[in-house]
């Protein structure tokens, strides 16, 4: 399978990328769950945002979504 070969060839790039993106997502998910006060929106909405939109989702959450005092 050619696609698998591409993935294998590029593991030094793909693996850290995957780990970092997961890390970012998990950090955002933990924050969403632990601080249930948002400037707007609700828990489910923010969970979807940070999980579905790689990189941008967590950044938008930390910039605009989290509660004022968190």
């Amino acid at each position: 399978m050619k696609n698998a070969q591409v993935l294998l060839d590029n593991w030094p790039l793909l693996l850290p990328l995957l780990i970092l993106e997961l890390g970012l997502m998990i950090a955002a998910v933990i924050h969403v769950l632990r601080h249930p006060h948002y400037r707007f929106g609700n828990k489910v909405m923010w969970l979807i945002v940070v999980i579905v939109f790689e990189i941008i989702g967590p950044v938008i959450y930390f910039a605009f979504g989290r509660g004022k005092n968190e």
Binding site: L13, L14, L24, I56, V59, A63, K68, N69
Partner: protein, 251 residues
């Protein structure tokens, strides 16, 4: 006094997750640049164009193209977005009242915020640069990109301006949405000025758009010293204006 506040700002950006988030994002960019350069031909090959086009093998230049594209089109706006509330959040939360009523100078507040933004701009971009540089040297050991450091330095200088824009916009607005709008508006102004070709050597924008020239031709950097001066000057001017406005704000 600025040093004391700088430490406070550093602690703030770390403990409120802003810096950690930005660190991860900028390292991700650092990795994505060489990856995109490597994968783009593969992706094209898999598409139905296969066989009809002869694709040149990717070079280090492709990787650096990705780097400057990511920073100038996404990175800079994420940075602005995260730090858009740096002044007005403190004003709306009244957190400066206790400090100012102890004799803290308001100028120190503004300049420490400019410094922390500049510091973060420098370190985040340098980190991203080092990651891209390392991978690029490993995957594309060619001689298409002879001056990577020289090409990168103007981007660091741009930080003076970016930090000034954020501090200024955040001082004159009441929320981080408004602040971000002003920031984007200022960038649009630069892009509009950029439509006039004769301004290219003066426009701060050139410091993040002409980097591929610098990368390949060392001498071309020298032509842009007016833009560098203007960038630093505007950054300082915006911060100075912010401090004058901030001096008369209700906290």
């Amino acid at each position: 006094m600025i040093l004391i506040l700088f430490k406070k700002e550093l602690r703030e950006t770390w403990r409120t997750w802003k810096l950690p988030i930005m660190l991860i994002v900028f390292v991700i960019f650092g990795i994505m640049n060489p990856l995109m350069a490597k994968l783009t031909p593969e992706i094209l090959k898999m598409s139905n164009l296969a066989g009809k086009l002869s694709l040149p093998a990717p070079t280090s230049l492709d990787s650096w193209t990705q780097f400057y594209k990511n920073i100038s089109q996404i990175g800079i706006y994420l940075f602005m977005m995260i730090f858009a509330g740096i002044v007005n959040h403190e004003v709306s939360q009244h957190t400066l009242v206790n400090l100012v009523t102890k004799g803290l100078s308001r100028n120190a507040v503004i300049w420490s915020k400019w410094l922390i933004l500049l510091g973060q701009w420098l370190s985040l971009n340098s980190l991203s640069f080092l990651v891209t540089w390392g991978y690029t040297a490993f995957y594309f050991p060619d001689n298409h990109s002879p001056h990577p450091v020289l090409a990168f330095l103007p981007l660091l200088i741009l930080g003076c301006f970016i930090a000034g824009v954020i501090v200024f916009a955040s001082t004159i607005t009441r929320s981080n949405y408004q602040s971000l709008l002003i920031e984007i508006f200022m960038m649009i102004v630069l892009y509009l000025i950029n439509l006039f070709k004769q301004t290219v050597h003066y426009n701060p924008l050139s410091l993040m758009s002409k980097n591929l020239d610098f990368l390949q031709r060392q001498n071309s950097v020298a032509d842009y010293w007016p833009a560098m001066l203007i960038t630093v000057g505007l950054g300082l001017l915006l911060t100075f204006l912010a401090s004058r406005i901030f001096a008369h704000q209700r906290l």
